[in-house]
């Protein structure tokens, strides 16, 4: 298992989560650095979303604790933003108002909101769509709005829960590289949950593989890929090597699940 030398911005110590009789995950130890992207992969239902919720303080872990910048997380902290798979845009708000949401709640001054919202709408390539409603946007554009809303609060921790999972393959690839470009211009801690092994390897400095029931960290793989990451990475031998490694870890799990299912029958 690899150790992370950098002072962890996010410190996860012995965390477990249980819903009634269902123990979702346990023994999660993970430190995430200030300018690090950690990808999390694992089979459906292994608790990836729940872990992100714990990091954001939306739910409390049953055991262990999570600290961000040394402070124990008990409620959603300032400076942490989430991007949701379902986009989570408010249908009655325009793009502008959706992006402004976090700043308005934080009570930011009017001119600061106007400046920041305009800048972030432009950053994600939605200039001119300020007045559009979510129903008028494609899935890709909706998630651009979700990303702008998160970034507008100027977070130092970004939690991504399968942000591009419900977006078509071509747009997804464009968004992946745009996100990488944005991250290069303002590096921050990022936890990137995904179902796609390629995406996990492309985004992450490390890939955390969750496995088992209840699940726990099975393996942490340093991708060792250079940054800034460009499309060239996708065809590099190292990328393929890591992808195969993660793939075999997850396939093993899938096969085991299949066998258990056979036994039940």
């Amino acid at each position: 298992m690899s150790t992370n030398g950098a002072a962890g911005r996010i410190q996860i110590d012995g965390v477990a989560k249980q819903f009634g009789d269902l123990r979702v995950f346990q023994d999660i130890d993970l430190a995430i650095g200030e300018r690090e992207i950690v990808s999390i992969v694992g089979p459906s239902g292994c608790g990836k979303t729940t872990l992100l919720r714990c990091i954001d303080g939306l739910v409390q872990p049953s055991e262990g604790e999570i600290r961000i910048d040394g402070a124990k997380v008990t409620e959603p902290p300032r400076g942490v933003a989430v991007v949701f798979q379902h986009f989570g845009l408010f249908p009655w708000k325009t793009v502008y108002e959706n992006v402004a949401y976090g700043l308005r709640l934080a009570g930011a001054p009017k001119d600061q909101i106007a400046e920041s919202v305009a800048r972030h709408i432009e950053l994600v390539g939605l200039k001119g769509f300020d007045k559009a409603y979510p129903y008028q946007l494609s899935g890709g554009m909706q998630q651009r709005t979700g990303l702008a809303r998160a970034l507008a609060t100027d977070p130092h921790v970004l939690l991504m829960d399968e942000p591009f999972a419900s977006i078509d393959a071509q747009t997804r690839e464009i968004l992946q590289f745009e996100l990488l470009r944005i991250w290069e211009s303002r590096p921050m801690s990022m936890v990137f949950v995904t179902h796609s092994i390629e995406e996990a390897v492309l985004m992450g400095d490390r890939v955390v593989v969750l496995r088992g029931r209840p699940s726990s960290i099975h393996e942490v793989i340093e991708t060792g890929l250079p940054r800034p990451r460009t499309r060239d990475v996708l065809s590099s031998p190292r990328f393929n090597e890591v992808r195969e490694q993660v793939w075999s870890l997850l396939m093993h799990e899938a096969e085991q699940a299949e066998r258990e299912l056979q036994e039940v029958r």
Binding site: D56, L58, E75, P76, R78, V80, A81, V82, F84, H86, G88, F90, P91, W92, Y101, G102, L105, A106, Y133, P134, Y135, T153
Partner: protein, 273 residues
């Protein structure tokens, strides 16, 4: 799969737009009904029974308030009814939104209140008017309670439904941006429930008008209800009929305004998925 014959699949419009055709049919029905009314009354009823021609003849002097001394004036009555209805709607909206949101967001409030509010909603509250005259006297207070309750109940239950069907994901997004409970109630649950609120408002308009008019009949308050009773009893049927038509027009136009407001201010409604 059997293919549908071409002639059946496409409605014939004979070169006229579907909208024009619909309007034409609607007007045609109206004209036929008016003619039937006129003919049947002339043929079968005594001369004091209102028919379209006499109503039309009564219209100018009713609207100009030119009535025999001692009779209630139309505009005075209309104003009283409209003002009381508007007050009732205002109270009903504010109260209905607050209670509906509270029941929708707090399980305890739901358990304490919803059964009784649903029961009141299901029962004809105008049945309470006689007993209310004993409690509050023969005063406009009775009408105010009836119209306020008439607006409150449907709005409250609709806002409740809207709040209950609020996707949990919206609440989670709000909480992740550090929203407090009041931000969730009034910034998320309320706007998400606006389509429900509007549906409740349209129900409320009908109930409020019925409540106001019936309260005016029974309590004999200045208003269109008592105007209608007076004119009916004094053989001023065409004059009375003007008030009935006015009430119909009022209900229809408030609802049309609500639809217009939906399209204008809730463009996202019915289009988000």
């Amino acid at each position: 799969m059997a293919s549908v014959p071409h002639e059946v699949a496409i409605p014939r419009t004979y070169g006229v737009s579907a909208r024009t055709q619909r309007t034409f049919l609607r007007i045609a029905t109206g004209v036929i009904l008016l003619v039937l009314w006129e003919v049947l009354v002339r043929w079968l009823a005594p001369p004091f029974v209102a028919r379209p021609v006499t109503v039309a003849r009564a219209l100018p002097h009713v609207l100009a308030n030119h009535l025999p001394p001692g009779t209630p004036t139309f505009w005075g009555a209309a104003e009283a009814t409209v003002v009381a209805s508007a007050e009732g709607l205002a109270i009903g909206i504010v109260g209905g939104v607050l209670v509906g949101l509270t029941m929708g967001r707090l399980r305890t409030a739901d358990r304490l209140l919803r059964f009784y509010i649903s029961t009141f909603f299901a029962m004809p509250i105008i049945a309470l008017v006689p007993v209310m005259t004993l409690w509050f006297g023969y005063s406009s207070t009775v009408r105010l309670y009836i119209v306020a309750l008439g607006a409150f109940l449907p709005i409250c239950l609709n806002v409740y439904d809207g709040t209950r069907s609020l996707p949990a994901s919206f609440v989670e997004v709000a909480q992740s941006y550090r929203a407090r409970w009041w931000n969730v109630w009034f910034g998320i649950a309320l706007p998400a429930s606006l389509p429900y609120l509007l549906a409740g408002f349209k129900l409320a308009v009908g109930r409020v008008l019925v409540g106001a008019v019936v309260a005016e009949y029974i309590v004999n308050l200045k208003g269109l209800g008592s105007y209608i009773v007076f004119d009916s009893r004094t053989f001023h049927q065409p004059e009375m009929m003007v008030a009935v038509l006015f009430l119909a027009l009022l209900g229809v136009s408030v609802n049309a305004a609500a639809d217009l407001a939906t399209r204008r201010f809730l463009p996202w409604y019915r289009r988000s998925e």
